[in-house]
Amino acid sequence: MDNHLKRQEIAAGVHFNSVTDKRYKFNRITVGFFVPLDEEKASLYALLPRLLCRTNARYTSAAQFSNYLASLYNAKCDFEVESLGDTQFLAVSMKFMDDGYALHGEKITEEAAMAIFDCVFRPVIEKGENSGFCAADVEILKQHQIEAIEAEINDKRFYAANKAKRILFENEPAAVNPLGNVEKTREITPQSLFAAYKELLKSAVIETVSVGCNDFRSALKIAETEFSKLASERKNIAICQSAYSKAKSKTAEKTERLPLNQSNMVLGFKTALSGNSEKAALTLMSNLYGGTISSKLFLNVREKLSLCYFCWSRVNKYKGAILVSCGVEEENIEKAKAEILLQLENVKKGDFTDDDLKYALLYEQNNVKTVNDSLNSLTWWYFTRIYTKEIKSPEEYLKDFENIKRDDVMSVAGSMIFDTFYVLSGIEENEK
């Protein structure tokens, strides 16, 4: 089944997008903001969706709002902060059950749609000389953001991948943590945050994506009314895009030591892509290299050499990069690295069968077609398509892969430059 996105501009740089599909029993309305990733502003902007989804002028305490959402059968008001290449993406979302499933005939849809726009447009404000957001709320959420930034180390794979990414994209916006940093978060005041909020509404690219069984007519009406009030202010809309970066002339290498049982290594590769067919070739190349359980990395580094439990490659399509992650024993780092590089050489040389290529495509088709079955996946799908200005349904996207040949895959593999080698290693016995 093809999901056709309905898209319309409702104010300057503000679009309302919706997909209605009766397979769903829930609906999700997400208001997304795109701004350039910037070390100076990232912490401020990151704190905003965390604050906006917590309360609003109708439900001024978090407990009141949580109780209200619970009474709407677990309506969930949530936030997201992500980086899409050189762009910071911020979102406030509301996911709610369709009215038809309520036990006592409650009208959930109307209430939930109003609530999310209340959160975005009518936050709790302390008025007076220094008007700004509620000071107590801001202090609590600043602490949560600091703890979230510091918690990166708790997941060693995530930590290693982020550290590698920061070296890979050094001096580029993509190296900035979308959550910002601890120092800048500490400096935030209720007033500076309120100013950032007004700036965000004025200058961010704003996209509302609504997916579910509802027709979203009432949500559209509310969105039109609310965003029309901003019309006169939205004169300078941010330009949000990502650029491919040049690979370093020599592979950057860094080893960090912490008290750990297992070493985590990340290899970062860069290329520059032109056009959709090269992007599709890169995806297939990553799938057959390290993206699946039948990939070269899985079958050789894990299954044949028994060096690791996980070894995979992931594409950063916005920056034309591939990151390979692997958890190994310290003494096997060089052996695993050599095998990972050897397998890339093999793909470059075309040491793969037509079947391997076919399987990489089948895997992609399978995953992409599954996107339609999940509200969250389909929402994210359209946000990323909108960002790259290639607004296609999952089915339309798959057409990009129709004419990809082995030479295309070899060519994109051949253009990969080994840019960054990062190792998170355990502290050796004599160092303890």
Partner: protein, 425 residues
Amino acid sequence: MEKNIVKNKRVREEYKIIKHPSGLTICLYPMKGFASAYALFAAKYGSVDTTFKTNEDGDFVTVPEGIAHYLEHKLFENDECDAFQLYARTGANANAYTSFDKTAYLFSCSQKFEENLEILLNFVQEPYFTDESVEKEQGIIAQEIKMYKDDPDWRVFMNGLQALYHNNPVRIDIAGTAESIAKIDKDLLYRCYKTFYNLNNMVLSIAGNFDVEKTLEICDRLLKPTADLGLEAVFPEEPAEVKTHETVQKLTCSMPLFNIFFKFPAFSGRENTEKYIIYNIILETVLGKTSAFYEKALNDGIINNDFAVSALNGRGFFALSASGESKDPRRVLAEIKKALKNAKENGLPEKEFENVRKMTYGEFVAVLGSVSSTATFMMDAYFQGNNMFDMFEITANLTYKDAMKLLAELDEENACISIVEPMEE
């Protein structure tokens, strides 16, 4: 073949539970409009099943820790190739996992469903182990064990279970230890396979986009009938009190993590499901986001938004859990005990209770919007001796009085706390 259609008027949904002549129970839930299908072929066999016998054995046998998980890794291979290569030909997403009380093999696909199902049924029914292949897997599993040793969330959880239980095998790490897996050989794997991968001890659960008739035709063709061997898995005696009230470990992490457990005896069947749902509602009402406790603890800065509560249930164990990050975990425990005691003495706040009941109902309806969750809930319900719509009915029919009755059974002092603290610089 015995077919039973399970219907629920409240959500206007139904699915089939079929007792196949081979001994296998099959749960089928076609979902209109969905592009993908999700299938689980699962055995009632997890890390807790370390001591067992069948009517073919003379006496109970005790096997090394982590063997169910080891078996899961090895079943992906047969004498010609491995299941990964077969799934590559269909593009399916395939995986497997071992929990405390079950092992599940699964795939998700949006094309070639029948081919994928044949792969699944074939490889799980055709074990092939050699000394060499068993030894080769040790390196991979050893790395998986090490990965979890560095995971503070997993460590704080497992340390908590080790503080909670004296003897219950749920305190054993699912993957075992480097020492225990070194004792595993092909003969032990075959013995465990023969004992637990009996179709009478298994379920096939499928949801989403698939054809029921074609699925049953494949099952008729590929399922190999097995006689019920009268499997008995035993759990050692477990004292009612927690083993120790506190356990602390230092690890590389950003701030202290905690996992608090309240101990209960194990339940089974519908009682297990009922208590799981009702205690979850009680915990959410007293300690969850809608509660006065949560708001105060958040404002006082002793918890952050990672704080979560839930009931933990399975075959042979039941506990209540509260987990999160805190600079003062012991104060969190004290405040939680105070909030629970207060609710027992003064009653649950009625409005919040009703809201949480609706919230829980909404969570269950959300399950039906996902093929993977639907298949997983059908499997879990089957292993617990229920059907998946029971949870809708238990929630819809729950009264305040029922909840207060169960709250009275909670002993807030029979608790333990596990803390993982950051290493000192």
